[in-house]
Symmetry: C2
Subunit: 204 residues, 2 copies
DNA sequence: TGCTTTCGCTACGACTCGTAGCGTAATGCC
DNA sequence: GGCATTACGCTACGAGTCGTAGCGAAAGCA
């Protein structure tokens, strides 16, 4: 993923199956060993490639794990469940089920931690994980506006800020619940969360 | 912090100043090196103690950093600002200013990541950081109830669940905003956040 | 058939880890 | 004051990981 082989390029092309094998091996190693005990040499062995092959494609552990984890979030979708509340509950449950998987838990938090001191890594995470999933917030809002559950957005800048805020609130709450409080984000919790998010604390 | 010298104990007592020096050195190393490049040998040198002394008190890097970071959150307080909204805004801004410090950013996320595979570490984090700050949510609610801004809580179990939910929403949103989105949780953001938290998305 | 790039393999110096062993320093108990 | 006990600083050690270099073979393209 680091440097795709350009189209008009001479020489032996990089093996596409090696990429897939390496990313899968990375996730498997995250499950069995966790972030700190994961070594690139071990990943290479699991994937059946040489360590040097791995270093030719990824500059280090951080970048590799970002790519391995990013794929997990692509399965998120926003099926139409009839109401804004139901739509939110649905996608939050999906998000929670991904975060419940050990390869996502240990990998995601670790790269975020590393990203606090690495601007390029932060950008990579934002591009390949965060921004890609903001589509869900946008889709949910436009659907709610069509239903009349939310007033149509006017100011585009204000609108973008709101999307960011919602995303931070939803993703942040689920992550904190799952990883810090270490309690499951189950249906009961998701219902309570959605109620507060939509109607506020005062209404409860 | 690991094993305080019991009262009626013979032999040379552990140096209390060494504890403080080690924790301060750990925070300094977190600022300069970040989590992944922080080594216990380096921390020992910075603190002016032998590496073996450090290992006698903490079993590893994880436990040491938890203790070093936990101290940062003890300065949180909940001054009475007159209304629930103002109280929340105040404490969220304090929390954001702590998370803006590099020693908190890189240290906290990293130990949370490690804790996904270490039950004892998770418990240590909960005891020394998370649960200790839930007092803020409790204080804010009881103050709001006295003001009449919130209905008095009846069912104690339901009440405890709500406290946990609020805590996950507040802490999660600030952490996500600061560390993942990498945008400052400034006054404008905090005001928007508080408005959604109290009145809900539908009202906005 | 040449040219180019990737591949697997081996080997390497540099570094960190966590522990052990030693002699010394500081305290409580008799 | 002397003794037992524990903490301390220091040094050294094997084990493991890091990221890179060099090699010959393989796989594409002109």
């Amino acid at each position: 993923m680091q440097t795709r082989t350009p189209a008009g390029r001479t020489g032996r092309p990089r093996s596409a199956s090696a990429d897939a094998a390496i990313l899968a091996a990375t996730r498997q190693a995250l499950v069995e060993l966790g972030w700190s005990k994961l070594t690139l040499g071990d990943v290479a062995t699991r994937a059946g490639v040489a360590k040097t092959t791995l270093y030719r494609r990824w500059s280090g552990k951080n970048e590799l794990v970002v790519d391995a984890v990013a794929e997990l979030f692509d399965e998120l979708s926003l099926p139409d469940r009839g109401s804004l509340a139901a739509d939110i509950e649905g996608v939050v449950l999906q998000f929670a089920s991904i975060l419940a998987r050990p390869e996502a838990r240990s990998g995601l938090m670790a790269v975020v931690a590393e990203a606090t001191r690495d601007e390029a890594l932060r950008e990579r995470i934002r591009a390949s994980i965060v921004d890609r999933q903001k589509r869900l917030v946008l889709a949910g809002r436009s659907r709610a506006e069509q239903r009349g559950e939310l007033p149509p957005s006017t100011d585009p800048e204000e609108s973008a800020r709101t999307v960011d805020l919602i995303f931070d609130m939803v993703a942040g709450a689920v992550v904190h619940r799952t990883l810090v409080s270490a309690e499951p984000a189950d249906e009961a919790w998701v219902r309570s969360f959605t109620r507060v998010l939509l109607q506020g604390l005062a209404a409860a």
